[in-house]
Symmetry: C2
Subunit: 319 residues, 2 copies
């Protein structure tokens, strides 16, 4: 699926706003971006989005028919309302679609940013040729997007795909969502401090000495550097990361019956460090009939996925 | 959704075969059943199904337009092939649809029995009025069926909804699927022996003495009887059952964004003993925005659900 008309895709992050003018065929023709600055009220951000959209719109050869906007947090995509956005607290229960449509005067789709990333990869990235895909965006949490036959799957209220809160350890680590043992505590950036804390004291202190940092700063980047330097403990931490990633993938595979998984987000730069362990762990928790079908793919579009997905959703909404 | 033409629904179990002639409107007009007997080869069972269908067909006022058949095990519903059936080992990799169509000469849908149950409840049972439902059939395992907008959701190959193998304890009990810590070890019939094994020795022996049985025979029925007699340990085991049931429900809710769950199967007779704990546990593992929406409903159609669902799937396939 590619757009056949001019659309604009907007990808709102916790600190930046990125947008692109997408032409017939699905490619980004013009990009624009801005920092959100200090005023993160919903009215200030909506004004910024409107300005960015207006700039891009002037550069289109034909009329822009619709705008898509990906927003971090839990989004009621059916009504275009942001229910809760941990990174943009002022956005709780904001009717974003209504407010933005008033400001830009174009048909508008608002959805969760991970859903837009998933749609972008599914339509124009690693997912091309696969009917159904699950995309996992690994960063400070795990963003999830489920794309079935070219469309984002939303469930009852637009809340589907909150896979970061899938339970992998019933009595495990507390999570910001109020639950315990959520997947994103074990297979996103904060996992490494957790795993290091489980090491024998001597191994742990050697690891931190080699990294030259404290346990709280044991980021994926730091552990990746150590693994590059053949530090066995660091290599083991990536395997443990893969093991937990695979447990959640197995659950998604068993529930959804979807066998194509695209891994994106900053941590996917270390794809080769964890993908083997993830695959092995996923297969050890699924039926044998899935073995030959499971595909773990690295995302192809990087930061463009959100813009392209949002533009695709916009095009689809007016088709 | 109800059928508008005469169809036949067949529900194949591990020991019995049940079928019904379903008239316009969705109600079962005539029922028939038989025991599978000792010859459980696929050819013997297919001949039995064909005989049952022929008997029912003769009793229809108008021509029967299609037949639906629910089969236990993992079914590739897209191609009508039973990939694996633990209860009917001779059925592994059997192209059931092809063989049955040759025998009965009518359009035919073959699907997993839990999917057919789910469709029956969604269309004509507790799910009426809900757009999307997940049905959980609690028995020796956990059968799952996901019905979205009146249709069974199949995923890539018809394998979606294998929720019994969702991982709730990564290093937990071994399961017949080859994995560990699968949901159905903790929230289906074998859970009670497991929970009893975790009790302090004194409590455990008191429980078994009160039940007059061994730990292997600690079935849901036995524990239900004890709970009825106000045995506090037995009541606690049902709460533990509910706690694990809720953990899996939370995962399904987070992944699918579906908030209506229908609980069926033999263990649902004890619905009131575990539903409160299940709800509490599910909500402790999900976002606050789901709290008011989560519905746990008891299945309404009993054993008829499979027949009605299969008949509905048949009607839908020729509409």
């Amino acid at each position: 699926m590619t757009t056949t008309r001019w659309t604009i895709g907007v990808d709102l992050g916790g600190t930046n706003l990125r947008a692109g003018l997408v032409g017939p065929g699905g490619g980004i023709r013009v990009r624009d971006a801005m920092s959100l600055g200090e005023d993160k009220s919903s009215s200030a951000i909506i004004a910024s989005i409107a300005r960015l959209v207006e700039n891009l719109r002037r550069q289109a050869k034909d009329p822009v028919v619709a705008v898509g906007c990906g927003v971090p947090g839990i989004v009621d995509a059916c009504h275009g309302i942001v229910s809760r956005s941990p990174n943009l607290p002022a956005w709780n229960e904001v009717p974003v679609r209504e407010a933005l449509m008033g400001a830009i005067g174009l048909p508008l789709v608002v959805d969760n940013d991970a859903n837009m990333h998933a749609l972008g990869e599914a339509c124009c990235g690693s997912g091309v040729g696969h009917t159904n895909v699950v995309m996992l965006t690994l960063g400070s949490g795990i963003g999830g997007g489920i794309v079935l036959e070219g469309k984002v799957f939303h469930g009852d209220q637009g809340y589907a795909g909150e896979v970061g809160h899938l339970v992998v350890e019933p009595d495990g680590e507390p999570c910001g969502c109020g639950g315990r043992g959520c997947w994103e505590r074990y297979a996103a950036s904060r996992a490494f401090a957790l795993f290091a804390n489980r090491l024998p004291p001597r191994e742990r202190s050697d690891l931190l000495a080699a990294a030259g940092t404290t346990i709280e700063r044991l980021t994926p980047e730091v552990v990746a550097d150590l693994a590059d330097r053949k530090n066995e403990v660091a290599i083991g931490l990536w395997r443990e990361f893969g093991r937990y990633l695979g447990i959640g993938i197995a659950t998604l595979l068993n529930v959804l019956g979807v066998t194509t998984f695209i891994i994106g987000g900053g941590i996917s730069r270390s794809f080769d460090r964890f993908a083997g362990a993830a695959r092995e762990s996923a297969l050890s928790h699924t039926y044998a009939c899935h073995v030959s079908r499971l595909l773990l793919l690295r995302a192809a579009l990087g930061d463009d996925a959100g813009i392209i997905g949002a533009a695709n959703a916009a095009a689809d909404s007016v088709s």
